[in-house]
């Protein structure tokens, strides 16, 4: 195959993969290429090798094996009835591309997904074949993420985990009604069944390794999923509820949100008004609150308005605090960790620093200012040695006083 031919197909098959939000390459076991015949390493934390002008990280070669598809999901550019250009790679071509990118240090590994050709099981076999060649024939020790096909034979879905660091199955839409309407070829029970299969395999493999050191590893970076936001009528509250149920039921590592984005040759069933990107951001923030700040799902839902939507002009933590003003102010010199984590503007790092510093001495407002980036936001909600916010939390205009400018909000939870 000539390089220009590969180039043309790469353009089509990467373009088709751009709607998948995840490019993560972290959370797997440590590996290095020492003592091996091939290349590759993973060190727990993934590396973003580049950033695209859409602000997203590029850490993996994220492509589709093919964008031909026998399914007809309306939100999907690759659906059968779409007029998009079609292309396919052979497993060997994907392998070659991955290795030549990896050797030049462009990527951490491969994120492979595919449209469904012939049958779900056939497609799944092809995906597995790519990872088998990489691992077995080239001793590739970099990161592999396989998007599995829920309709495929469960045995195949389970085999994927023997080669991949991470496996994912997209739930696609937050509600069953949305799924039936927009992805008529998919079914929620089938998706959840496949997630369940993976969960069992992951748990069993972990168990086995505790007893036999040589037991094979299975998807050590766990499983993740993605939900499209704004393509159906589901509210933020619905989405948060669904995500937390998925975390609980299937032990997911991550739920990714992808704001529905206008796609070429879209189906008219879609709203076609792109939801504000801020909505997606708010959902990630709420996810963060549940995973790192100890908020229960219903508490995040309390931060939403009567319409079930999280406010767009402030982050959910601040929204929650404004709903529950009676819980504030929090004394930075006395309050337990959980309470401090509830203070708008105090991140996990700032809270840790406060806890460490106050073992030394009592903290003044000025000290807190040195440990956080947004003292203005924090001030109304805390008590310090020399500071007490007199009835500030009751002032009706509090929200407008501290509601940060947009640019600041984006950075609030930035890691």
């Amino acid at each position: 195959m000539s390089r220009t031919d590969i180039m043309g197909r790469l353009e089509i098959l990467a373009d088709a993969a751009k709607y998948d939000a995840s490019c993560a390459s972290s959370g797997t076991v440590k590996r290095s290429s020492k003592g091996g015949k091939g290349i590759g390493s993973t060190e727990g934390m993934g590396i973003c090798h580049a950033y695209a002008p859409d602000g997203r990280c590029i850490s993996l070669l994220k492509i589709l094996l093919t964008n031909h598809c026998v399914f007809d999901c309306h939100y999907c550019i690759n659906r059968k009835s779409s007029n998009t250009r079609r292309a396919r790679f052979t497993p060997q071509e994907v392998v070659d591309l991955t290795l030549s990118f990896y050797r030049r240090n462009y990527i951490e590994g491969l994120f492979l997904s595919s449209g469904i050709v012939k049958s779900s099981s056939h497609t799944m076999e092809q995906l597995i074949e790519v990872s088998r060649i990489l691992r077995e024939e080239h001793d590739f020790r970099g990161y592999i993420h396989l998007k599995t096909i829920p309709e495929a034979d469960p045995e195949l879905v389970a085999r994927a985990g023997l080669y991949a660091d991470r496996v994912s199955i997209n739930v696609e839409l937050p509600t069953v009604a949305g799924l039936t309407r927009l992805a008529p070829d998919k079914s929620a029970p089938q998706i959840e069944g496949a997630m369940g299969t993976l969960k069992t395999a992951i748990v069993e493999a972990k168990d086995a390794r505790k007893r036999f050191r040589n037991a094979p590893r299975f998807a050590p970076a766990g499983q993740s999923t993605q939900m499209i936001v704004g393509a159906d009528a589901a509210t933020d509250s619905d989405i948060v509820g669904r995500a937390s149920a998925l975390y609980g039921q299937f032990g997911l590592r991550r739920v990714y949100y992808s704001a529905f984005s206008p796609i070429p040759d879209a189906s008219a069933v879609l709203p076609l008004k792109r939801p504000p990107l801020m909505r997606e951001h708010r959902l990630y923030q709420s996810d963060w609150l549940m995973r790192f700040y100890g908020y229960a799902p219903h508490e995040v839902q309390q931060a939403a308005g009567a319409d079930g939507m999280l406010p767009l002009d402030m982050d959910p933590k601040l929204a929650w605090a404004l709903q529950f003003r009676a819980d504030f102010p929090v004394d930075v010199n006395r309050a337990p960790r959980e309470r401090l984590l509830r203070v708008p503007g105090l991140g996990v790092r700032a809270v840790n620093a406060i806890l460490a510093a106050r073992r030394q001495r009592r903290l003044r407002l000025d000290d807190v200012g040195k440990l956080t980036v947004s003292l203005g936001k924090v001030r109304p909600f805390i008590v310090a040695e020399d500071w007490r916010p007199v009835l500030l939390t009751d002032r009706a205009d509090l929200q407008s006083m501290i509601a940060p400018r947009r640019s600041e909000q984006l950075e609030l939870f930035a890691s």
Binding site: R103, R104, P264
Partner: protein
Amino acid sequence: MTARQTLRRPTLHRASLPAADDFEIWRDIARRLIRADMPPECVVWESPADQRADLFASRDAFLPEPPVSAQQPRATRAFLQLAQSAVLHIDPERFSLLYRLLWRLQSNHRLMDDKADEDVRRVEDLARQVRRDIHKMRAFVRFRVVEEPEGERYVAWFEPEHHILRANAAFFVRRFTSMHWSILTPRGSIHWDGEALHEGPPAARTDARSGDPVEALWGKYYSSIFNPARLKVGAMLKEMPRKYWKNMPEAALIPELIAGAQAREARMVDAGAQDFGDRPKSLVEVGDAIVACRRCAIGCNGTSAVMGEGPTDPVLMIVGEQPGDQEELQGRPFVGPAGQVLHAHLSGAGIAAGRAYVTNAVKHFKFVPQGKRRLHQTPTAGEIDTCRWWIESERALLRPRIVLALGASAARSLLGKTVSVQSERGKPRTLDDGSELWIATHPSYLLRLEGDSRVLEERKFINDLRSVAMRLSQLS
């Protein structure tokens, strides 16, 4: 710590480090100084890379010899971890800053916990910047392949901000053990031959050859994986500041990608996405809107749209495929030959046609002219999906309990996917609003059959209608 300050200017001791990034040697010297009880203000630190000569220090004393009885200095693990990173920073003050912190640590063992302390914060800052530089080097080094007599060598040119090259080499060894590679920087170079690491002198950018053919593929990937509908240049710049761009081949594409993003998004949207706006609030609005609708090619063929008709609170909604020749002329659904077949069988099954709302999946008539005749043509899946907006609007306004879809096109319109009428007929499916969908053949299909097969199909059709009639009687 100020106890031994005197009024005289203290004697300055010069601590010279052989390399800019050698933590072990810094630690040895610092240990010795602490044991000699040497306060920070009496030590001047220097290393070759800092190119800094302190005039006062030049004549000063050598390092003091600590008394044998002196206690070993103490340092917490937190301090050691930070110091190992911070020592790689280019700030010439780093050695003295670290020494001051170590000195203070001797009398205050918990100093590192005080994150508001100026020295602690400063060192943490240095360490953070170094860690970031290390991370960015791992991310942004770009190898280019060079053919050498012994085989391929992968060569990269990189400009780290801090003295991280040697500290970071092990990472590249772990990752690319079986490759031969070199990383060249303005402050030195490292080379790996598959077995051992060699250090080399500083290099120039021109030492790394350009023109790796895979770069073009990588650039293509970079441009394609980016979604122009979500431009966020600030977020990109935060993680990939411009100073790194010059050594990353893909970065040359960024200005063009940003400039073209709007046009590309507009093309994406135009290429099919059509904004239907808000749902119509009444059947009259639907009727007006479809008259003006040109969202698919059928609407552009000069025919008039045909609206559904019937009661506004129907239990049953009957959906056909599209208006035919007669329907288009009269502006009413199911008035042609197929409509007559339908009505005959409806009354045969005991369904009062007047109680049902009758409409079509596609609102305009698709045909090819043949002489004076207009020959019916089946709408494409895309056309059905586009027109689905209108039938869904009608359903939302009328909320029928039962929907009867006649033919494959109608079924697709309601289900969003193509199903086989023969295997789906005779049993209800639940639609998203809880109503029941029944599927049967389109009466025009019966018209095309002859003889036995027509008799057979008509019987099936009647059976389907009877089932619906039964459900209707249960519901009312």
